[in-house]
């Protein structure tokens, strides 16, 4: 056996072993959504079907769902029909491996636009951090799964991405030398300066973030976490962020989808 084959076998064994021993995660009865760590007023805002500002984006997403676009001149609804039926449960299963790549929900929407509608992918305009249209559609799709448990697949084709995501979750980064786990596993419920530390779940995303006055994806929130740890944030949609989002979604599996949640 050549050295290269040996290395490959060793890596495969390690990966298989790593998968066999899932990292510690909160027991199902100890899982707490981010809503448990915000103030009661913020929680009330999220639960109010009128006042939740994230619903502005959902409303816009519903309109986009019906809007024909691209060379094919079709809308989402032309193929998928009613989102309430077609998209029920879909948002709870992302990030997901599609054609050998791990895609998050927004990337999947863009892929569908390019492949089936002949439309350009939604990209952030100059004044935007993220594409508002893409966020709107993502929120609209994900909210169809509201109340359903998060259920991402981490075996089969997704296994290597899951292992990578877990590695990132426990990797210490930045000037603060912090790993995600150090706050969100070990110190959840404690205070980080004036803020309570949540368990770091993504079931509420895209969520309305009060400090940003708008809807934001989980990966924008990852960037913010990285910045706070004085680490170099990755681009939204980066493969590593997708892997991390997969791990975090698995970690919070069985939590109900809350999008659009309201968070500090």
């Amino acid at each position: 056996m050549s050295a290269r084959v040996l290395v490959a076998v060793a890596i495969a064994l390690l990966a298989a072993d790593a998968l066999a021993e899932p990292a510690r995660r909160p027991a199902p009865e100890e899982l707490l959504s981010g809503a448990a760590f915000v103030r009661p007023e913020t929680r009330a805002l999220q639960d109010d079907a009128f006042a939740n500002p994230g619903l502005i984006w959902v409303e816009r997403g519903a309109a986009l769902w019906q809007t024909a676009d691209g060379d094919a001149g079709t809308s989402c609804a032309d193929c998928h029909g009613d989102a309430g039926t077609a998209m029920k449960g879909v948002g709870a299963t992302y990030p997901k491996v599609v054609g050998g790549r791990l895609l998050n929900l927004s990337q999947r929407i863009n892929q569908c636009r390019v492949d089936h509608m002949g439309a350009p992918p939604y990209v952030a305009a100059e004044h935007e951090v993220e594409s508002e249209n893409l966020l709107s559609l993502e929120a609209y799709v994900k909210t169809q799964s509201a109340g359903m448990p998060m259920a991402v697949a981490v075996d089969g084709a997704a296994a290597p991405f899951f292992v990578r995501g877990r590695e990132l979750y426990f990797q210490r980064v930045g000037q603060m030398d912090l790993a995600c786990a150090m706050c969100h596993d070990d110190r959840a419920g404690h205070a980080l300066r004036a803020e309570p530390i949540s368990q770091g779940h993504v079931n509420g995303f895209p969520a309305y973030i009060l400090r940003w006055d708008g809807l934001a994806s989980a990966q924008r929130r990852f960037r913010f976490c990285n910045e706070q740890a004085r680490a170099e944030p990755l681009a939204i949609g980066h493969d590593d962020y997708n892997a991390l989002e997969l791990y975090v979604a698995w970690r919070g599996a069985t939590l109900p989808v809350e999008s659009p949640a309201v968070r500090r």
């Binding site: 009128f50 502005i56 816009r60 006055d213 708008g214």
Partner: protein
């Protein structure tokens, strides 16, 4: 934030059907950046000019029944709810006025049943 012409306005009366004299809640939500006028671009040091909704007016069948003056510091996408005594069936209209005196409107119907007929 969406282009101004696409910004959403929401209005709801809870409950939409009431008896004469009942107190109902008017809920309003406007999508707006509510730029307070004190922030600046850290690179160019140019101050973003104030741009807020500075007045909300509620009309009940054309009669002004509630006015709120807003100042900078009100959050983006402002939500406001207040109580109203149901007097007669008709239209409740909300007008939001911004710093350029541009108005946006939302209207909804309220049904008021007479106390005598409902016993």
């Amino acid at each position: 934030m969406a282009a101004r012409k696409d910004q959403k306005r929401r209005l709801k009366i809870v409950p939409a059907t009431a008896r004469k004299g009942d107190i109902v809640t008017i809920k309003t939500l406007a999508e707006h950046e509510m730029e307070p006028g004190v922030r600046f671009n850290p690179e160019s040091l140019v101050v973003y000019p104030r741009f807020i909704i500075n007045k909300l007016i509620c009309r009940y069948n054309g009669r002004e029944v509630f006015v709120a003056d807003w100042f900078s510091g009100v959050s983006a996408n402002p939500y406001l709810a207040f109580k109203l005594r149901a007097e007669e069936s008709g239209t409740v209209e909300i007008e939001w006025v911004d710093d350029y005196n541009q108005s946006t409107f939302a209207r909804t119907e309220i049904t008021v049943t007479d106390d005598a007929t409902t016993g």
